[in-house]
Amino acid sequence: MGVITTLLFTAIANGNAQGSNGPGIKVAISGIVKDDTGPLPGVSVIVSGSTGVSTSSNGKFSLNVEIGKTITFSMIGYETQKLKITKADANLEIFLKTDKRVLSDVVVIGYQQVAKRTVTAAITSLDPKTIEDVPAPTFDALLQGRVAGLDVQNFSGEPGVSSTVALRGNTAVARNISSDNTTAAGKASLARAVSGPLYVIDGVPQTTDDIAAISYGSGTGTDVLAGIPINDIADIVILKDASAAAVYGSRGASGVIEITTKKGVAGKTKINFSTYHGFTEKPSLDKVLIGAEETRAKMELIEHYGSYNNLKDLPQILTDTLNPAFNNANDYRKGIYQNGLIDNYDFAISGGNDKITYRYGLNYYNEDGIVKKSGLQRYTFNSNIGLNLASNFKINTQIRYYRLDRPRSVSDLSGGIDPFTGGYYASSPLPPSNLYLSPAMQDFIYGNTNINTDDNTSNSLSISPTIDWQISKKWSFNTVISYEVTNSRHDTYTPGIYRLSGLGYAASFADNQYNYLMSNTLQYTTSLGQDHHINLLIGQNMEYHQYRATDAEADGIPNDQISVVDVVNKNASTAFSDLQENGIETEFLRLNYDYKGKYLLSGVLNADASSKFGAGNRTGFFPSISAGWIISDESFLKNQSSWLSMLKLRGSFGITGRQPDDGSNYLSFNNYSVGAGSFPGSNNPQTGANQSFTYNGIPAISPNFNGGISNKDLTWEHSKQTDIGLDISLFNDRFSFVADAYVKNTAQGIFSLNVPVTTGYTTITTNAIGTQNSGLEMTLIAHYLKPSSAFQWETDFNIAFNKNIVTSLPNGGRDIQINGGSTSYILRQGEPINQYFLFQQTGIYKTDADVPVNPITGQPASFYGYPFRGGDPIWKDQNGDGVLDNSDYVASGNPNPGIVGGFNNNFSYKNWSLTVFCTFTLDRTIYNDYLVGKLSHLTPEDDFNGTVYDDLMNSAFPDLSGINYWRNPGDNAQYPSLSSVTGTRYKYAAVSTAWLQSGDYLRVKTVTVGYSFKPESIKKFGLTRLRIYGMVDNLHIFQAKGVPDAEAVDAYGIYNGNGYPIPKKFTLGLDMSL
């Protein structure tokens, strides 16, 4: 800090030079400045060495100028024009050309703008125009398939939820995994499944950790990035390698996505309006048998497999079909799903002059969920005001506000009463259709009730002034201050009519998040002679985050008119609040050097200190270096410039970091649990919440045994990344090709380590794992036809190969088995993260005689005491000990995608355009939890549940056509028998390779047809631009048979159907500018 202050003084002293007027004769000059649409107001008209004026609202100006002086006409977004004055002129007409360079040739890389041509790092910039019309509220979802190496999986179709985003492979490894999005643990696990990139919006790093989901499993679950309308984005840059991300060193390990929002542009006031409307299509779900059909199908199974003796166990629901309680035909899914509407309106107004520029953007987005009562509404206001206080001093103030309403379906409310988490698109089945449902129940389940069920709101306000001071030609200074406050509320009410107790349940959760940031940078740019160009950036960044949450819940509310927390029964009510804080201090230095503009060198040194670590281990150093060589600028290739526009070779090496992102802020403290009086049985059976906080009335305090032991040695995770890249562009940039190969080694990876049992503690967060991601990325952009052609065809293709392995594990590298809900995984050195670890299923026993005999006992092979019979699965006894247990599991597939990418084809002819965009994910194994769930419920799942037909009786019946299950001895079946009475009860156990399948898919993501009116034809309406278009989103998926949607798979490779189906969307849109 001191250094910067000193430098400031020096800089100010240097910056005082002022020009002086020379002698000459003054003449009057006046005229008009225009661009290709008409007169331009606000253009700076400056006489060299003096102050100037700006053009009036009709583009006119006049001043007195000495002969021999030069007038400069300048305006942001236009190429500057100079005119030497030789005589008086009253009718000057100046045309300013739009400056294309400004838009496309400069990128922002961590605190500074750099010419694309001289970038030595692996970056990709994305024109937001390619994604702005797609009907989805969040831009991270829209990055899917657009950028080589960026793996985005939109595993849920629920509007406004986060997607998983991994750049160059996942490095997040957890000891506990859960895919159950209806539980707190599952939500937290899924929120942390993938090491997501750092988002930087207008120079402000964002905290995207959903603290509420991580800490409490509640909160709104809304993607915070949903607050930024795509129309407000000017540029998206993805920083991939260490040299690019290093300036955000501590958090750059998983890449950085920088978003620059649109700013005001001096000139004529421009008004843009765009809107689209459409609908989301109700998904076509797997068939479920209903009513009498269901009863008959169940009876058929029972009669087919059962014997006379089993008839005594027949459930009443199947036999007493005249009973009004059992003779219903509820079509649950028909009631739950709907077609939804989507509406989006964007309105922006921008303009300004040389003193002030402004832009205001307004957006309203509304998407109905395809599950009733769910959806997303967004209101945003985005303003940007630039004040040019002096020619070298600007203050730009960004004020952004958004509100998101994301009501959720019954699913979350019912606490995961599984069938309603997404219909029978779920591994947990619906109840049988025969049961009587009271009208009140129906209304609630189907979302037809007026009773307020789920309000889920986020409000965010951010204010961010930035100061740019061009101290002198060589020195410049920049400050960014940002203050952001986000409030979320989540209010739910579950009416008593729906609950067993008959009493209502209300919960209210509110949180506040404050983020404060200040960064200061000082730049020095100079040249040594003609050829050596040096740019030095020194800076400091400071961030502080505070999070507060309050939660109150009350059970036992006796009247459903009340839908707020009202404590009637204090033992069934809970409340808590929380406070979390963390901070980061960063100092960085970057040096850019080039020789003749073709030999490029860049280095970054970054020191980060985080409050999350203990005093001695706070600071991490993240250096990086990169070099580039623009080969095409060499004299031996100069004469090839007719076809070779650019050839550049790049290389970089650097270290980036990551800090614990699981919501733990105080890992260096051995913290305590206050009110630790719980014991088995101390929970309130209604709420499940612990009710005992004391011992004999005295508050009990004891260490937090889950991770509460301090680790003063904990420090940053370090990723060392090497990257080699090649940029080629041909035929005047009509074809361009970018390839990058990289190896990223993550050491000291943050992982929970098991601590010795005798400490009493279970795990501790520590630096204990090593992973490696290596891969190759390629991007090809082709404009097949010359720009002069009326027909245009453009292809944008990208593909990325990534290989991910675990390189080191704690405790001498022993394998770590992870039980993740129904399935299990393994971490093994040299193999990918989270491989499935299952019984190898080799088939189905055709007959009883095929079952092998245990060599030790002489009895047929068995599982949990139930001997195998014909129709049971054949699981390989890998160690040959005659007992099937988890020592027979084998590593059997990789849930991490090996190949991801996308391609976009854009055809245009005159005013028409057609765009087809596809994304693909290949080389991935996924787990069909949906199928195993659906079938396993037709057979008993445990031993002690009354009659053997309990599961069959209590579950809906899926359509079995096309499922080759074992029915008779000798059948060559794909799936086990559906007998409830013979064979092992666990024939549909989830820990089997039978449920693995290929996760490859290619999705035709969007198809758009557009028509742009010619400017001349709409001019009479006062318009400068008018475009109409129609779009289909998620048109079709090509995939292997099995799961209904190979994209709706979570980061652990699980398709369980509990998620929200990804709907097809049809929209019509309109875009216009005044």
Binding site: A390, S501, M518, E581, R618, N670, G681, S702, V755, N811
Partner: protein, 489 residues
């Protein structure tokens, strides 16, 4: 730019820079506000008191975890014929089919025991350093330290009876760097350490209670002496046991509850209670069988709407012991003992949280660990072993009379020993003692014929000891399996 303007910028930049520099430290040195931590805790009497409450709460949780208090102390004795349909895991134990693996792993993982030990070690490490002036009348520094030593002795004795050799850890882990794997310490050394801890406890604790609300549910000198007696009896030091039990009986101020108030003994805090674990719905510390709590010996009508009886009484066992039909314990302890669904209703103080709807029962019966009748009979056993049968008989008859069974006369030696043991089995049914009594007196095979030989006492490898969870070996190379079970799981 005007000069004024320039100065403002310089000023602003300076202020910004200064603020930054000042906040550097502030934003990095953040302390948790959602919990306390060692440096902020253990600063006054209130902290010491909540810490010792935390220790008792951990002990309560440990004993209730998977009902391990009864699974260790009662099930292997054969008191129940567990219904395999409702409790498969514990059925394997009661039916002699335990093979080391077929129980719930929570039973034999000692994580929760070491949580308690960490807590106690923290108290022993930190509380003596708190200045006496920071204590108020409510928090007695000396008593809290004494209780901590008592609890450490108790838990190590408890563990040693279950597993034999256990890792002996006497200092807290304050940071990961001290968290080492440590091997199992021989049982003899563990018991020696228990007695050493008890010496400290006995010096720090007093008989009786200054605060009557702490009766029996907090350790006092009586509890410490009772524990000492149990340890010495277990070690075969009958003279030592005699001295300790004598102290409890003569100085402790305890009295047997009369027959009319007998059931209240099992609610807790009675005149007879020496050491108990608090479970009381009125203090929001009730046990809910419907969410995590396990009340396997009762069903309707004692637990309304509960139909499954997981642990029916073993009628054979009952018939062997309760031969006198005038014994008031038959009615107080059991419901329909001759049926195949005999319930044990010793702990049946139920309140329904939802009133007459009766869907939400909460149990308020303390876990009875030591009580006077137990100590009387323990002393009788010691005296019998020391050849002082007349004195033993007096104590035995004291318990028999309260139970409305006739006093015994003129029996001595082994015969008396058997009577004392059987009286213990009758009196202390389902109090987590019977199995250890049988192991101590080497009579397990007599009362539980279903037990396979691994549970027989005298097996050279200690087969009556429990195996430990193989999961604990995963990351621990120093730990070894209990000798009898090595190579068996």
């Amino acid at each position: 730019m005007t000069k004024y303007f320039k100065n403002s910028i310089i000023g602003l930049s300076l202020i910004a820079g200064l603020c930054g520099a000042v906040s550097c430290k502030k934003i990095l040195d953040l302390q948790p506000h959602d919990s306390t931590f060692t440096a902020a805790y253990f600063t006054n009497g209130e902290d010491a008191n909540t810490a010792i409450a935390g220790a008792y709460a951990l002990l309560r949780s440990t004993l209730l975890n998977n009902s391990s208090f009864h699974v260790f102390g009662d099930v292997p004795a054969g008191e129940f014929s567990i219904n395999s349909n409702f409790d498969d895991a514990n059925y394997n134990i009661s039916n002699g089919q335990f093979n080391g693996l077929n129980v719930g792993p929570g039973i034999w993982n000692w994580q929760s025991n070491y949580q308690l030990i960490q807590q106690i070690n923290l108290i022993i490490n930190k509380v003596p350093g708190i200045d006496i002036s920071k204590f108020t009348n409510h928090d007695d520094k000396q008593q809290i330290i004494g209780e901590a030593y008592f609890l450490r002795a108790f838990i190590y004795f408890y563990m040693s009876r279950v597993w034999g050799d256990v890792p002996l850890k006497l200092a807290p882990d304050l940071d990961l760097s001290t968290a080492q794997n440590i091997p199992r310490t021989p049982a003899a050394s563990v018991l020696k350490q228990c007695l050493k801890d008890l010496q400290v406890a006995e010096a720090d604790l007093k008989y009786g209670y200054a605060d009557v609300s702490q009766t029996a549910v907090r350790a006092n000198k009586g509890a410490a002496m009772a524990l000492q007696a149990h340890i010495k009896e277990w070690m075969g030091d009958y003279a030592g046991c005699d001295t300790a039990t004598n102290a409890v009986i003569t100085q402790g101020g305890y009295a047997l509850a009369d027959s009319a108030n007998y059931s209240k003994v099992f609610i807790g805090k009675s005149t007879e209670g020496i050491f108990e674990i608090n479970i009381d719905y009125s203090q929001s510390e009730g046990l809910s069988p419907n969410d995590g709590g396990y009340v396997p010996t009762m069903a309707a009508p004692f637990l309304a709407k509960k139909t499954n009886l997981e642990w029916p009484l073993n009628t054979n066992y009952f018939n062997t012991l309760y031969t006198d039909t005038n014994d008031i314990r038959i009615k107080k302890f059991f419901f329909q003992p001759q049926s195949n669904a005999g319930q044990t209703i010793k702990y049946s103080n139920i309140t329904y949280a939802d009133g007459s709807t009766q869907n939400d029962p909460r149990l308020s019966n303390n876990i009875i660990i030591f009580r006077l009748a137990d100590i009387d009979l323990l002393r009788a056993e010691a005296l019998n072993n020391l050849g002082r049968d007349q004195e033993a008989l007096v104590l035995l008859n004291k318990v028999r009379t309260r139970a409305n069974t006739p006093a015994l006369e003129n029996i001595t030696g082994e015969e008396l020993g058997t009577e004392i043991l059987q009286e213990r089995l009758r009196e202390l049914f389902y109090e987590g003692q019977s199995y250890y009594d049988m192991v101590r007196t080497k009579t397990l095979g007599t009362y539980n014929t279903l037990m396979k030989d691994q549970f027989m006492n005298g097996s050279p490898l200690g087969g009556w000891l429990w195996p430990i969870d193989p999961n604990m070996f995963k990351d621990d190379f120093t730990l070894t399996q209990t000798p009898y079970w090595q190579g068996k799981l």
